[in-house]
């Protein structure tokens, strides 16, 4: 609380007044050093009661025209996905460009792409929690939702890639009547099943645990008895009792601690799909860290994209401030540099290995027939984020948004480059070939965005999009408290808190 007591920021009324710099009080810190007081995480002089209204509002009124417009587009794209999947299942995988010698095309590219997107959500919710970064509270709910929806999108692709998607349950080890037939537990593809399903379920559990107090808030604001009953059931009758918080806090910390190694393990295992093969360009020890950092990088780009919309269209600027965006820009630049470092290290390793095949694959990657894809990848991922050395650009909405889109494009091409260039020219030149995408390759990719945005738009309609109880915890009580009343209770249902 000492940080709050010293806080001179009560006057910050607007996101645009934030500078991104702390207030420095010389000599006021420990041992006579300077005291740096960070800017508030919530602007607009909000009270705790205002937070409830501002955030629950979107789930409590009829959808706006803009929401319907966005939802219409998302649904149309989802339709594209459904049609594409129907065609793919009905006529077989031959309709996409996957063929000899590139047998791992569009499905694996999109699978790795979407799984990577998801990783930033877990990073924000778990890793930043363990590192005590209070700014995560504004964005963690939406980022975790993004994780779950991205994993849902990712899950489609390997199942279709099986060829006979209706036998997908054979991947699960269970006692069966097909003889004593088990999955090969030493295969990275079997590891994938465990990694992805664990990741999906733990992400959902973590997300839902965080939602419990906020569902109770929605319940207490509800005016319709059925809405009240529904949200009461969803919140498991949450009262906010300290006896609940005690176990809740312990479990939340534990889930954060478990989700952190989990998120690293998931993309490590995804990279094992490649690294345990004997293909030049894949069979490298750098793959696990390289994949993990690329995943976090791409995920943060998607978080920035989504948060830009939430700030603009849902009026969340007081909760997701420019300072939040700047913090994410810094992470984007940092991870972008690590990704760029990995790209160059790969070349060093190929040269230093002395292996002719490795050397050839990397020369072919950068300067061969797919050099254009490599150029897009390298430019978008390693060079463009360097813009964020300038504070002004980190805090500029359109620069941030454009860079986040470019990074998403670049990271899709990273997976394209990895999958296609290693396969299209391997050990045997007589087997070389090219890979070209067909209509259905594009439609399934575009359609997966439809699924993602449909789920996300539904999420913003029915659940609190910002972690209300966590945001309240980082607000300055002197500003956020409301005056005592004779009845004691605050204005719960009326939505007309004092000072609103």
């Amino acid at each position: 609380m000492t940080r709050h007591e010293m806080s001179p920021w009560a006057t910050v009324q607007d996101d645009s007044q934030l500078t991104g710099r702390p207030l420095v009080v010389p000599g006021a810190g420990p041992y006579g050093g300077d005291l740096e007081i960070p800017e508030p995480l919530v602007t607009g002089g909000k009270k705790w009661a205002d937070v409830d209204r501002d955030i629950c509002m979107h789930a409590e009124r009829f959808p706006t025209r803009r929401w319907w417009l966005a939802f219409g587009v998302a649904l149309a794209l989802l339709g594209v996905l459904v049609v594409s999947l129907a065609v793919l299942i009905y006529s077989g995988m031959g309709v996409v460009g996957v063929n000899h010698p590139v047998g791992w095309g569009t499905f694996i590219i999109n699978f790795v792409f979407w799984i990577g997107i998801g990783h930033a959500g877990t990073l924000i919710s778990a890793v930043l929690y363990l590192f005590r970064q209070p700014w995560r509270t504004g964005i963690n709910r939406a980022a975790e939702a993004m994780t779950i929806f991205a994993v849902a999108c990712a899950g489609i692709f390997p199942i279709i890639h099986l060829g006979r998607a209706w036998f997908a349950y054979w991947l699960v080890p269970y006692p069966n009547a097909r003889g004593p037939l088990w999955v090969n537990f030493t295969s990275p593809l079997a590891w994938d099943i465990f990694a992805i399903s664990t990741y999906a379920l733990v992400s959902i559990a973590f997300w839902y645990l965080g939602l419990l107090p906020d569902l109770a808030t929605v319940r207490d604001r509800a005016t319709h008895p059925w809405r009240r009953r529904l949200y009461n059931a969803l919140s498991f009758g949450w009262t906010g009792s300290q006896r609940m918080w005690r176990h809740y806090e312990a479990a939340y910390m534990i889930l954060a601690g478990l989700a952190t190694p989990l998120v690293f393990s998931v993309h490590t295992i995804v990279s094992f799909d490649f690294a345990t093969s004997v293909m030049p360009g894949w069979h490298t020890t750098i793959f696990p860290p390289y994949f993990v950092i690329g995943a976090i990088f791409s995920g943060f780009a998607m978080v920035i994209t989504l948060m830009t919309f939430m700030r603009g269209y849902f009026g969340m600027k007081n909760y997701i401030t420019t300072n939040h965006m700047e913090a994410m820009a810094k992470i984007l630049m940092f991870t972008g540099m690590m990704v760029g470092f990995a790209y160059t290290t790969e070349f060093f390793m190929a040269w230093y290995s002395g292996s002719e095949w490795e050397g050839f694959v990397f020369k072919n990657r950068a300067f061969g027939p797919y050099g254009w894809a490599y150029a897009i990848m390298f430019t978008c991922n390693a060079i463009v984020p360097q813009l964020f050395w300038w504070k002004k650009l980190r805090r500029h909405t359109w620069v941030l948004f454009t860079v986040s889109i470019l990074v998403n494009v670049g990271m899709w091409f990273e997976r394209y480059v990895i999958v296609v260039t290693s396969l299209h020219r391997d050990y045997l030149p007589s087997s070389w070939g090219m890979y070209s995408l067909t209509f259905w390759d594009y439609s399934i990719l575009i359609g997966s965005f439809g699924l993602f945005f449909t789920l996300f738009l539904l999420f913003v309609r029915v659940l609190p999009v910002v972690a209300i109880s966590e945001v309240k915890g980082v607000m300055d009580p002197r500003v956020a408290r409301s005056a005592p009343t004779d009845s004691g209770a605050a204005a719960v249902t009326a939505g007309a808190a004092p000072g609103a």
Partner: protein, 183 residues
């Protein structure tokens, strides 16, 4: 004047600091059947209320070990006994290759189990008469609500009310069994 069917007493505080100070005084005054309802977790409330640390980490630990044993056991049994296959002359018990699935199973059991147990424990770890849910306390909005149950051995309505008022609480009121308010 006092209602006969009183179930407990509510008192409201406006900031976490006030709530912490009040909790410590309620604890020191010897009350046992009391609780605080807060809109967000208040740091130091466990100590202020005289609670022990949550035992959830022990559940996590046991479940993590169960997950490890289950996954290792399943893989070892399937790959060595039930369906041994010769993959390029490698040993059946290729235990390093069992590690990824073992790790995932450990996280799966520990994380999901802890979440479920924590929710159930939060519902069950309660005083004999928990604060009634239907009373509008504002505890999910911006109020830090002290609840002293009528089951407390030290329960004496007039005394308790005076004590809670002396803590600086506002909106002090008795709550009856039916869940309605009785000011």
């Amino acid at each position: 004047m006092m209602p006969t069917s009183t179930r407990g007493l509510l008192g409201h505080f406006c900031t976490p600091d006030e709530a912490l100070a009040a909790a410590a005084r309620v604890r020191d005054a010897g009350y046992r059947h009391f609780d605080f309802l807060t809109p967000f977790p208040v740091h130091g409330m466990e100590e202020a209320m005289g609670q022990k640390r949550s035992w959830i980490p022990w559940v996590t630990g046991v479940l993590a070990i169960c997950g490890i044993l289950f996954a290792l056991g399943l893989q070892y049994w399937a790959m060595v006994f039930d369906w041994p296959l010769n993959h390029g002359g490698k040993p059946f018990n290729a235990w390093p290759a069992f590690i990824p699935i073992t790790f995932e199973a450990m996280v799966f059991w520990a994380a999901l189990g802890s979440a479920v147990v924590a929710v159930i424990a939060g519902k069950r770890d309660t005083i004999p008469q928990p604060p009634p849910l239907l009373v509008e306390t504002g505890a999910t909005v911006d109020r830090f609500v002290l609840w002293i149950s009528a089951t407390d051995p030290r329960w004496e309505p007039a005394e308790v009310e005076a004590f809670v008022r002396s803590l600086g609480a506002n909106g002090v009121r008795f709550v009856d069994v039916s869940g309605g308010n009785d000011a």
